[in-house]
Amino acid sequence: METILYLIAYPPLWQVLILGFVGALLVAMVAIWFERKAVARVQRRIGPYWASPRLGGFMMIVADLIRYATQQVIIPTTVDKIAFLLTPVAVLVVTILPLAFIPLSPHELYWPVASMEYSLLIALALTTLPPLLTAVLGWASSNKFSIIGSLRESYVITAYELVAVLAILAAAASTLSFNIAYIVEAQQPVKWLAILNPLAFLAAFLAVLMSTSAFPFEIPESEHEVVAGPYTEYSGILYVLNMGGGYIRRFIYAIIIALVFLGGWAPYTPGLDPFTGFIIPSLIVLVKASIIVLIMSFLRAVYGRYRLDQALDAAWRLALPLALLGLGWSIVLAYMNLI
């Protein structure tokens, strides 16, 4: 029994395949469904319904997925074929990659990688890779709108990347460790950094909004100037990989935020066996991360989109000082031994 459970919960398998691909796919589907349903409610509509009235129309998302999966993939003759075909796949893989360096249990036994001393740094570094591939998408597409979209993406990277890294590293500064597992344990039971250091939390939230082009920062794929931005030429399953990639990236960021700011599995004290020691804590993190994703998705109903230069302005003038203040406050927290 123990062995079977351990096999299921074999950390790399559980984390990257089950939690990573399956969990991310599910969360992306739930997020899309929630976005459509909640926004419809605000807008006095019903949203998806007829595909499965009892599930609130959730099967509509599955139907969409089937349609995209079976749709003809059109590859324009002018594109750079290898880059055009490989980049969406690479985006997905690279997006999931940080999960391999995120511990979802305090016990070393259940870490996917043996050492987690620098896990926060490595995970953060890996989250910065997908936007670069977005630039490749635009270049490979050989479409003017794609190129403008990619350029916008690369502008936005310069603005939010620093903010995201600074704000999330504030957690490391206050706990004097880069080990995510240690950071979470330091927040037990409710000394959550989101409460102790709301500035850094807010900055991180803003940066994630920008990096995953959520409203009000949905700029790279802003429909009314650049059609679908970098994804303009994509169709069928390749388009889904791109669009889903955005949601999954939001999910990965949300997991990091849930761990370092919302205490990860915090009120719960994990046991030693695979079930209480690994599966339950990881599910708690999953739920917390999902809530963050859903809040981010809901903003679509409230905001329009900022102009590119205004978003950059907001990032440099508002979010960056906020992140720096958060970092400073973290150092104060560490100095006063508050955490």
Partner: protein, 416 residues
């Protein structure tokens, strides 16, 4: 950037050839040219050729004409009444406002004037149309800025006014309501109460729009100081309607040359000074408020004057007995076949009207036959299209939808 008519071009190309209406443009290597439209989610039935220097637009060329349906020419081969259902299709969301001036022009030629009740009914439908048209523009504007909630709300609320029009005329959009000398149908008995309820509802909704859209910090940031048209510039470019009034020009045909019964009604012409996209948005809210007030006044008047005729006495006398009965019982005017082939005395007439988007002008010429000799239409959107050329350059690419949406440009109306 530099442009010059062929023949005087300094580029040396095609020197000596003179092609009317053609311009030669030098290819600028540093500029990035994108074609927004005609198949683009943010273009409408038109193309805007945008040349970008980085993120800044240095030149914008509105390329209109994709929905040209030769309405002026078609009007010349149709009997006098038939252009009414044709012409209202150029601005299908603002149909009554588009056809009332045409009917007014015919009335001038025929020396006929509608009874007051018919005039009030026309004004009532015109204002219902104006509210619906502004709500439509608002919705498109909202989604241009990525604000899908505004889009859904305004399109949902527009439905109320479209329904009102349907109850009044029998058609949601293409009412064909005014006819020379009157209107086709009288108002149903319970219409005033419905109209008042719609007005009350809409007043509450405008407050909600303000909270989610007009005072939304993101939207204010996108619109404030964007696409500024100064008073002088607006006058120079000949911009009309709410766009001119947002720039401080106090000009409205309902005020300058009252037609129908607008001089008997109590309403204000809102004027803003700023001339930016935000002012152009606000002015439409204010106009909706005024239109709601006009709807109330018109409905009140119509209720006080029940049973008055909606066509002139001489027309009524000509009706056969059966048609008279239908008219007395249901308030519907059944047109006689003779109306289809009626002849209008030779002459020329000009009539103007204020549509949701601005001033519409009709020039109608008759040679005494059964069809117009010439119908010339100048629509507000045709006059506002020039904004793209002269106001958009200098702004960023993301400002283009903010300006496009705020001037409420409607390509089918411009192309006729």
């Amino acid at each position: 950037m530099k442009e010059s008519p062929i023949g005087t071009s300094s580029s040396g190309m095609l020197e000596g050839q003179k092609l009317q209406g053609m311009v030669v443009k030098r290819v600028e290597k540093e500029l990035y040219e994108i074609f927004i439209g005609p198949q683009h989610p943010g273009s409408g039935h038109m193309r805007i050729i945008v040349r970008l220097d980085g993120d800044v637009i240095v030149e914008a060329d509105p390329d209109i004409g994709y929905v040209h349906r030769t309405m002026e020419k078609l009007s010349e081969v149709r009997e006098w009444l038939k252009p009414i259902p044709l012409l209202e299709r150029m601005t299908i969301i603002d149909a009554c406002n588009a056809t009332v001036p045409y009917v007014n022009a015919l009335e001038k030629l025929m020396d006929k004037s509608p009874p007051p009740r018919a005039s009030y009914l026309r004004v009532l439908l015109c204002e219902i149309n104006r509210v619906a048209s502004h709500l439509y523009g608002f919705g498109i504007f909202g989604v241009f800025l990525g604000h899908s909630t505004m889009y859904m709300w305004t399109f949902g609320d527009r439905e109320i006014f479209v329904d009102l029009a349907e109850i009044l005329t029998g058609a949601r959009l293409t009412h064909s309501y005014p006819i020379p000398g009157g209107v086709r149908r009288d108002m149903p008995q319970d219409f005033p109460e419905m109209a008042r309820r719609a007005v009350r509802y809409m007043r509450g909704k405008l407050e909600e729009y303000r909270r989610i859209f007009l005072d939304n910090p993101v939207i204010v940031k996108r619109l404030e100081g964007v696409g500024v048209i100064s008073r002088n510039k607006a006058a120079e470019l000949g911009i009309v309607g709410p766009n001119a009034r947002a720039s401080g020009i106090r000009y409205d045909v309902r005020l300058a040359e009252p037609y129908e019964v607008y001089d008997e009604l109590d309403f204000e012409i809102p004027v803003f000074e700023e001339g930016d996209s935000l002012a152009r948005t606000w002015i439409r809210v204010e106009e909706i408020k005024q239109s709601l007030s006009i709807i109330e006044q018109a409905v009140d008047w119509l209720e006080r004057h029940k049973g008055e005729p909606i066509i002139p006495k001489e027309d009524y006398d000509k009706l056969p007995k059966l048609h008279k009965e239908v008219y007395e019982k249901t308030g519907r005017v059944k047109l006689l076949p003779v109306n289809a082939t009626m002849k209008i005395p030779a002459g020329k007439a000009i009539a103007r009207g204020e549509m949701g988007r601005g001033e519409i002008i009709y020039y109608v010429e008759s040679d005494g036959g059964t069809t117009p000799y010439r119908v010339r239409v100048v629509t507000p959107s045709a006059r506002n299209a020039i904004v793209f050329k002269y106001i958009v350059p200098g702004h960023r690419l993301m400002d283009l939808p903010a300006i496009y949406g705020s001037i409420d440009y409607f390509p089918p109306e411009a192309d006729r």
